[in-house]
């Protein structure tokens, strides 16, 4: 199994949080992960992109560093253009900025205030309905995961969220569920 997922958004939208949740879900399922994320200047409201690669772990633990380069199918922390299986765009600008990463036949999930095409959803409105616009990222994640195209299930993601602490967990779980519902009801 291997999957390359790009998560795109604006600084402050929770791109890193979505990526983290997916990466932890991969770990929970005993996959190996490589993640690359944007820090610093670009986080101040600019376009943010993170790359996630999930792949089966080799039987021998890749503890020796050189072994990892030799034995793992994916070793680069970055997704090449045209190689992403999935693009999660928390903002519609992300499609123009990072759509080139998607491979032919790759799948796009995108927040849009007026959803037009399959894979699009007004995540901000759904998030506001359940309490706070800040949870739009979890709505989109729930929507994508429930569509069945990602390496993990809704239960995997819930399990990861349940491990976290803080007040946001409850809101995140609700948002995830709302997104999943939207996917199931079309």
């Amino acid at each position: 199994m291997q999957q390359q997922i790009a998560v795109s958004g604006l600084g402050g939208q929770g791109v890193l949080f979505v990526t983290k949740i997916l990466a932890e879900a991969a770990l929970l399922k005993h996959f190996s992960v490589l993640v690359s994320e944007t820090h610093g200047m670009a986080q101040r409201g600019g376009n943010v992109i993170s790359h996630l690669k999930v792949f089966s772990r080799k039987p021998s633990p890749a503890s020796s560093s050189t072994d990892f380069l030799a034995s793992s199918p994916l070793t680069s922390p970055l997704i090449r253009p045209g190689c992403a299986d999935i693009l999660l765009a928390l903002h519609e600008e992300g499609v123009a900025a990072h759509g080139y990463l998607l491979r032919p036949g790759g799948i796009l999930f995108c927040h849009r205030f007026d959803p037009k095409a399959p894979g699009e959803i007004d995540a901000v409105r759904l998030a506001k309905n359940i309490g706070h616009a800040v949870a739009a990222n979890m709505v989109l994640l729930g929507y994508a995961v429930a569509s069945g195209n990602l390496f993990c299930t809704l239960d995997d993601v819930k399990a990861v969220l349940n491990q976290l602490e803080g007040k946001r967990v409850e809101l995140s779980l609700k948002a995830l569920e709302a997104g999943a519902q939207a996917a199931l009801t079309g």
Binding site: V33, L34, H39, N47
Partner: protein
């Protein structure tokens, strides 16, 4: 089963240091290196590891402090970004000569790209200049795994060792197993040896000689030799028996090696084309260079950012890299660029080029950021000024037309002094110069510049943008906090007292949210600068805590009131152009501006910004 955890490269490095018995770590924050110290402080607190960890005021101080711990026989580390190494150059160059006792790791994070830096300088090149061995890990787990052997290398040859991760190592995450930390720290033992630790120039010559001997031996150290990654696979597919009998070979270090490995596998060439990883680009083994030059017809070198390995391979006929034009001379070696270079090298048709990404939204100061308000006031009081600025979040004042120069840490004040002198010499005393500098940057390198400006008789205002933290790099504390990195109480060093002690006679503090009040402070400063009798330099401290800090502390409590746009708004766009608050949304000329409530922090500075008084405070009943 072993516990596995996903660690950021910088977290992995911090883990590596504590696994290896590092008893002192120092750092000054800088992207992409900052999380090394953040993580160390966190781990230390939660696991009770006996290691002194500190955010030092700058990189030079960080290196000097940690080096003393090494002189006393204990493992130490100093972490910084590549431009920070320039600040620390003085002690680093010398430390190569004196050498160390306890292992000393200089961790310098490079930023090819550059994603958040002024330069793409290559620390491996600096290592060559300083005559220090440098290690170039390819991915997070490797950076961590190399720390213990790097300390062994450092101790065996009594030499500082540079570990040089790049952005894609520092800010990549990877799953790895957890290991235990050291619990017992060795006692410091400093053996006096003035001929070494306080060597005069005559002895320095001898130390240099010794250093050269060390380097020759290190270049042959078997643990750090270039390694053929796909030896086993080549063996099976080609009957290869360990002798390089290939026409073409690839030699790579750092992340470029990780990109190349993935691409070769994807192309099914992993069993055809030899790929060497160079863990220690300097000093590079002479035997390795001679060997590959003898046996291969073409050698492709993939490395970031400058031709360090390439220059050590002296035969220009066979070597393909930056010097031969096969590899771009600037910018990050993104995997797609490596893919193109490799396609040409193996005569494979280039991958289909996808449409280039459109330029994204530019970064901006946060909604409600006190810096934006301060910049607005500065432009109001000094409308035609020259605005010398510095490194930090407030560099984004560029968008507001309030930042004209950015060179390096602390240069705002020295450059403003330069502009001031230039115009004064030319008889144009009326040209206003204003320096803006953040609080952390002021502590780092602004103080000597301010002393210099005072003692050279300059007359211009310095606005210290004091948000009480080092915001850009992740909110590290400053000396004003009155608390050290580990949360213990220490005497606070205040900006006011420093400015006064530097000889500045006009020092005032204002809140940039209070626009009329802050404008008044700036006008007073202007008058003081112009006062021929008692005037001179002026320092205005714009004090307003970073909103991101505030949000964390007060769990996102809004400020308690909201501005609203009235129907007076004609959509002139003034607030968008000169204030650029992300909460203000422009809908076109003659259309009323709106406020995005999800983004608005409620600072209300826009109420003062609008020239038509179209933005007002909402009445209490309104929400």
């Amino acid at each position: 089963m072993v516990d596995r955890k996903i660690l950021l490269g910088n977290e992995a490095i911090a883990h590596g240091l504590l696994e290896a018995g590092c008893t002192m770590a120092t750092s000054y924050p800088g992207t992409p290196a900052s999380e090394i110290m953040t993580t160390l402080l966190h781990l230390k607190k939660n696991h009770g590891v006996p290691c002194h960890a500190e955010w030092s005021v700058n990189e030079k101080v960080a290196v000097e402090t940690a080096l003393a711990n090494s002189y006393a026989g204990r493992r130490s580390a100093a972490a910084m970004k590549q431009v920070g190494l320039n600040v620390a150059a003085d002690p680093v160059m010398s430390a190569a000569y004196t050498g160390v006792k306890g292992g000393f790791l200089l961790i310098v994070a490079d930023d090819p790209g550059p994603h958040s830096s002024q330069t793409e300088q290559d620390t491996r090149q600096f290592a060559m200049f300083a005559k220090l061995p440098v290690l170039d890990p390819a991915f997070p787990a490797q950076a961590r795994d190399w720390i213990t052997p790097a300390y062994e290398l450092s101790e065996h040859y009594e030499i500082p060792v540079i570990l040089r991760p790049t952005t894609r190592v520092c800010h990549a995450r990877q799953d790895m197993e957890l290991r235990s930390f050291f619990k017992e720290a060795p006692q410091p033992v400093f053996e006096k040896d003035p001929a070494r630790w306080a060597a005069t120039p005559k002895f320095r010559y001898l130390l240099h000689k010794k250093l050269n001997e060390k380097l020759r031996k290190i270049s042959q150290d078997f643990r750090w030799q270039p390694r053929l990654l796909n030896a086993a696979t080549l063996d099976v597919a080609t009957g290869f028996r360990g002798e390089s009998t290939f026409d073409k070979i690839i030699v790579a270090s750092g992340t470029a090696c990780a990109h190349a490995a993935e691409i070769l596998k994807g192309w099914n060439l992993w069993d055809q084309l030899p790929l060497f990883q160079v863990p220690m680009p300097y000093p590079l083994s002479e035997d390795f260079c001679l060997e590959i030059l003898k046996t291969a017809k073409e050698i492709l070198i993939l490395e970031e950012s400058q031709p360090v390995i390439e220059r050590q391979l002296r035969d220009r006929e066979k070597v393909r890299g930056r010097l031969s034009g096969h590899v771009p001379e600037e910018g990050e070696l993104l995997p797609e660029i490596v893919e193109n270079i490799l396609s040409r090298f193996v005569n494979r048709s280039s991958p289909q080029t996808s449409s280039p990404p459109v330029s994204g939204r530019r970064p901006t100061l946060c909604a409600g950021c006190g810096h934006r308000a301060a910049f607005f006031a500065i432009r109001k009081v000094f409308p035609k000024g020259i605005y010398a600025s510095d490194i930090g979040c407030y560099t984004l004042g560029l968008n507001l037309g309030a930042v004209d120069t950015v060179l390096c840490m602390g240069a705002s004040i020295s450059q403003a002094a330069g502009f001031y002198q230039a115009y004064r010499e030319a008889g144009q005393n009326t040209r206003h110069v204003v320096a803006t500098i953040g609080d952390s940057t002021f502590y780092h390198a602004g103080i000597p510049a301010l002393i210099n400006a005072v003692s050279q008789g300059c007359r211009f205002p310095v606005v210290i943008l004091d948000n009480g933290t080092t915001a850009m790099t992740g909110h590290q504390p400053t000396p004003a906090a009155g608390m050290n990195s580990e949360g213990k109480k220490v005497p606070p060093v205040t900006l006011e007292s420093l400015a006064t002690a530097c000889g500045v006679k006009y020092v005032s503090v204002g809140d940039p949210y209070d626009v009329p009040g802050f404008v008044e402070r700036l006008k007073e400063a202007k008058t003081h600068c112009e006062d021929a009798e008692n005037g001179g330099m002026a320092v205005v401290i714009a004090r307003r805590p970073c909103l991101m800090d505030y949000a964390r502390r007060e769990s996102r409590k809004p400020l308690g009131h909201r501005p609203v746009v009235t129907d007076k708004c004609e959509g002139c766009g003034f607030c968008i152009k000169y204030f650029e608050c992300p909460a203000l949304i422009f809908h076109g000329e003659k259309e009323s501006v709106s406020i995005d409530e999800n983004v608005c922090a409620g600072c209300g500075v826009c109420v003062h910004v609008c020239p038509h008084e179209a933005i007002v405070w909402a009445s209490a009943e309104a929400f």
